[in-house]
């Protein structure tokens, strides 16, 4: 039963390739915002906005989450990923190329590039879903985290399939309710995949990293499944009448669940036994505050006659959710997972490293704290730019800086690992 062993962790190159590539896509998104300026914040439907959104959601977020899961599933869930090097070797270039093609399709106004992008995204999703799915289905663990991982993988596959359907519909190959389909694609991606995954990881990681009480059993068992069920029902309703009503009902329920998760997490963090709040956990606090702000903003904007149809509303919500909540949560978890993954790798090579090194000698706190401050500044300016588009260029520059800071921290981490292997 070697499934319980740290030795099941994949080779370090498996997650690291994703971790090192992802911030580059974040920087590209920042560069696009810097270049396009206010034009990128006119409407969620603007080509630059669509490109920018997917550079962050697929290029940055998806890459990090795939890399993290390839590390997390074997070590924490006791599941064996089939040939992790092969899986990573396929999905890493697939996602990277697909995302670049996607952005180019919108920026170059040539939607034909969406077809190869969609094929590569679906192929990557299929390979990853199959490999990770088999691992989490076969594990003997029955923890809520494993259940959430299973549901999140379903969310990923559905997101990819809806995306490829949209690609066909956008190019006029068949009739489809584009707005509702796009909203559903975004909901499955951000709620069904990202939020469910963050929940499952948080149930394990927050009590672990901060020695908090466990999440309430009801929250652990109920929230991810409820979120997925709401999305399934919403998807079915897309084929029926009263689509807008069902969309509103579904979104309202999603906001309730998001609020419950965010407020429970903040409450648990306030009851932590470890008094020191390191910058990685500070990222997570910001993520939960933004998630709560998002859940509160939605009904206010949706049911305020002056705001509902204003383009800035969806941009405000998107910025809060994608950059504020998701990117912050991912950075926080990454700063915990990456140094520990490297530490495990080094002590497998030479057991004496277990004593000579620790996660803070590999990645000290000060550079992480600097990134945290930069990230918060970028977030504040981005949200301000939604209200005052003249700030868009500055928001872009700060976004580049923030992702570049993350990238540099990860490069230094890898360099430290290489130095240690050659004698530190």
């Amino acid at each position: 039963m070697t499934m319980l062993s740290f030795e099941q962790a994949p080779p370090i190159s498996v997650p690291m390739r994703f971790f090192l590539t992802a911030p580059i896509f974040g920087m590209l998104a920042g560069a696009l915002l810097l270049w396009q300026g206010p034009d990128a914040l006119q409407s969620r439907w603007a080509p630059a906005t669509l490109a920018l959104t997917h550079l962050v959601t697929a290029g940055f977020m998806l890459q990090i989450m795939c890399g993290a899961l390839l590390q997390f599933i074997p070590v924490a869930a006791g599941g064996n990923i089939w040939r992790p090097r092969v899986v990573a070797g396929l999905i890493h270039p697939f996602i990277s190329i697909a995302d670049l093609l996607f952005a180019w399709a919108f920026l170059g106004a040539d939607l034909r590039w969406l077809d190869p992008a969609a094929i590569l995204f679906v192929a990557a999703g299929g390979v990853f879903g199959l490999a990770a799915g088999c691992a989490v289905v076969r594990t003997e663990s029955t923890s809520p985290t494993v259940t959430a991982l299973r549901l999140a993988l379903v969310g990923l596959i559905v997101t990819m399939l809806l995306g490829s359907t949209l690609v066909q519909a956008i190019q006029g190959r068949f009739e489809a309710p584009l707005v509702q389909l796009t909203n559903l694609h975004a909901a499955w991606g951000l709620a069904g995949w990202v939020l469910v995954l963050v929940m499952g990881a948080a149930y394990f990681l927050i009590p672990m990293f901060q020695i908090t009480p466990s999440y309430p059993q009801m929250a652990q068992r109920f929230l991810p499944g409820a979120l997925t069920a709401i999305l399934v029902l919403w998807s079915i309703q897309l084929t029926l009448n009263e689509r807008e009503l069902w969309e509103d009902v579904a979104l309202a329920l999603v906001m309730v669940i998001a609020s419950m998760f965010a407020s429970t997490t903040l409450w648990l963090q306030s009851r932590r036994k470890r008094k020191n709040m390191d910058p990685a956990m500070q990222f997570f606090v910001v993520a939960m505050v933004c998630l709560l702000a998002y859940a509160i903003s939605w009904p206010v904007l949706r049911y305020n006659p002056g705001c509902a149809e204003h383009p800035a509303s969806s941009l405000w919500l998107g910025s809060l959710l994608i950059f504020g909540a998701c990117t912050s949560a991912i950075c926080g978890m990454l700063y915990k997972i990456a140094p520990f993954a490297l530490w495990m790798h080094l002590q497998r090579i030479d057991p004496s490293f277990a004593i000579k090194l620790n996660t803070r000698t590999l990645l000290p706190e000060p550079p992480v704290r600097r990134h945290f401050y930069l990230h918060c500044t970028a977030l504040a300016i981005l949200l301000s730019a939604v209200l005052s588009p003249a700030l868009a260029h500055l928001a872009g520059a700060l976004a580049i800086s923030s992702f570049a800071c993350l990238h540099w921290n990860l490069i230094k981490l890898v360099r430290k690992g290489i130095e240690c292997r050659t004698g530190c």
Binding site: M1, V75, A76, G78, S143, K273, K275, D278, A354, R360
Partner: protein, 149 residues
């Protein structure tokens, strides 16, 4: 009815609290208190390891006929954690709060993942395999981790 491994699971939480107290003291600069709390933490961890290695694991191995599976993995991780605790004691003795903080962070992750695997996989296997003779064994486990009880 209480599970066989319930006391061990509760002891995980107890050790977590002392661990946090030691770390909080070290980070606030009170190395005397940190040393005291850490000594207590280390003693509790040793008691826990002893309870598992001398009582629970041998019983499970005998009942399941498997000596080279999950229990061997757990023993290996106990060895790692013992080495790390030894190094942490040295850091406190040397007054190196910075090094202690990094070692503490690393031990915490290792320890929590170890506990998660025990509570999620190994303990349920033990509860199932040893259900017939759990009464006396449960009492012995409690005596090992709580000598005064």
């Amino acid at each position: 009815m209480q599970r066989l491994t319930q006391s061990l699971q509760e002891h995980h939480e107890f050790c977590d609290e002392i661990f946090a107290a030691a770390e909080n003291a070290a980070l606030s600069g009170d190395l005397t208190e940190a040393a005291r709390q850490f000594a207590d933490f280390r003693n509790q961890m040793e008691a826990h390891f002893r309870a598992e290695e001398t009582l629970l694991f041998p019983s499970f191995e005998q009942a399941s006929g498997n000596s080279y599976g999950p229990t061997e993995v757990m023993r290996g991780e106990h060895r790692h954690m013992r080495e790390m605790m030894e190094a942490m004691e040295t850091s406190i003795r040397d007054g190196d709060a910075g090094n202690y903080a990094g070692q503490s962070e690393t031990l915490l992750i290792m320890m929590q993942q170890h506990n998660h695997k025990e509570e999620g996989i190994l303990y349920p296997m033990c509860d199932s395999a040893l259900s017939a003779d759990s009464g006396p064994l449960a009492e012995q486990l409690v005596k090992e981790i709580r000598p005064g009880s």
